[in-house]
Symmetry: C2
Subunit: 233 residues, 2 copies
């Protein structure tokens, strides 16, 4: 009669709480949960405890799949790289597509801006993206390929970070552009009024203000023009 435990018959013992199969875990599931958290509340909302909680699991359970939080972040970035598929005819179109799709991914996952360029990207999806880009450059002198790709990558990383940082600052001062200008405007106004930054003041006041899309594209055009000039030489 080894079925009786602690003196209670089955009928009296309550069923164990409804853990609907102990959460079959894998990296993909973990990474997806982390990305959901980051999309919703930013990167600082991603803690191993919260990720584990979402998955109905203890925090230490995750360490069977990753060695550290940094590795989780690497996996998140690589997962987003899977969404970045540059397309186009010719190297210029492909590089432009690379830049635009990366920027778009950062718009969908703002936390990407915090991670871009922070660690070398050697995951399978990042490499696959690199393969597409390099393959599109096959007409180019082999020694020029890496410098070109690296330069475009650098521009995209910096431009996206700038843009997202600005967007966040705007949002932090009250969600709409009116309040933003009502907070930053006066600060710059007062600062420029000191007369210490005359050239800057002139440009900020007199020049046309481009929106984020145009600013990004103009810089990208500068770079692609320069590349084209040197490549076809």
């Amino acid at each position: 009669m080894r079925c009786i435990v602690s003196g209670m018959l089955v009928w009296e013992r309550p069923e164990p709480p409804n853990r609907p199969v102990p959460a079959p875990l894998n990296r993909e599931r973990i990474v997806r949960a982390a990305i959901r958290l980051a999309d919703a509340d930013g990167l600082e909302a991603v803690s191993l405890r919260k990720v584990a909680a979402v998955l109905g699991v203890g925090p230490m359970r995750l360490y069977s799949y990753i060695a550290s939080k940094e590795e989780l972040l690497d996996l998140m970035v690589d997962a987003v790289h899977a969404e970045i598929q540059p397309v186009g005819d010719g190297w210029r179109e492909v590089l432009r597509s690379l830049a635009e799709t990366t920027r778009q991914a950062a718009h969908e996952h703002e936390w990407l801006a915090d991670l871009l360029g922070g660690r070398p990207q050697l995951g399978p999806h990042a490499l696959a993206k690199g393969e597409i880009v390099v393959a599109a450059l096959d007409g180019v002198d082999v020694d020029a390929v890496m410098p070109v790709v690296i330069a475009v990558d650098a521009y995209v990383i910096g431009a996206v970070r700038r843009e997202i940082a600005e967007r966040r600052a705007e949002r932090a001062t009250g969600m709409d552009e009116k309040r933003w200008q009502a907070t930053l405007g006066p600060y710059l106004e007062r600062t420029f009024a000191t007369g210490r930054f005359p050239a800057l003041a002139t440009v900020v006041r007199d020049a046309a203000h481009l929106d984020a899309d145009h600013t990004f594209r103009i810089g990208l055009d500068f770079l692609l023009d320069g590349i084209e000039a040197r490549i076809s030489r």
Copy 2:
């Protein structure tokens, strides 16, 4: 006789511990302490407790001078901007100088790479730097000035982050380049051996490997060439 405390005469009471003047504090002192910590052990070594400890002060004391840790980081970045003084004749030389000196600052303060582009830079030293740059562009169409400066800034941010990230990864695998290639090499070797990245594999194997200085300068030249072509049009 109000000089006697807790029943002990002065002769019995020990002197208070030797606090050599309660640390006259100001933002500059705080920021310098934080920068020293970051230079020595990286950004994650900068905690309000440690900064306060270095200054011989309780952690909460710092909140008289800053509202949050983020503000401290902003102050650190602006302090480094004071070291960045672009010089040169003509807009192209000044922009190149801007890029090179920024990169150099990031080499002296690697933590800068973690912060660059992370938040808008509106501190006095950042604005002073901007003033110098914009002033050097006074021959240029006023509507083109900001896009040009922003593009160069974006490239520098991304390139520096890439470079520092790579340098750290190398250092993490054992300090010298031999071990780095002994760790990463085999990984890439194995990955390329799968045949999934033929174009990438070809370029990595066949192309000349540029050092960091050349890589940075080539990308910068691309960009400046492109700018020059459009500006003088």
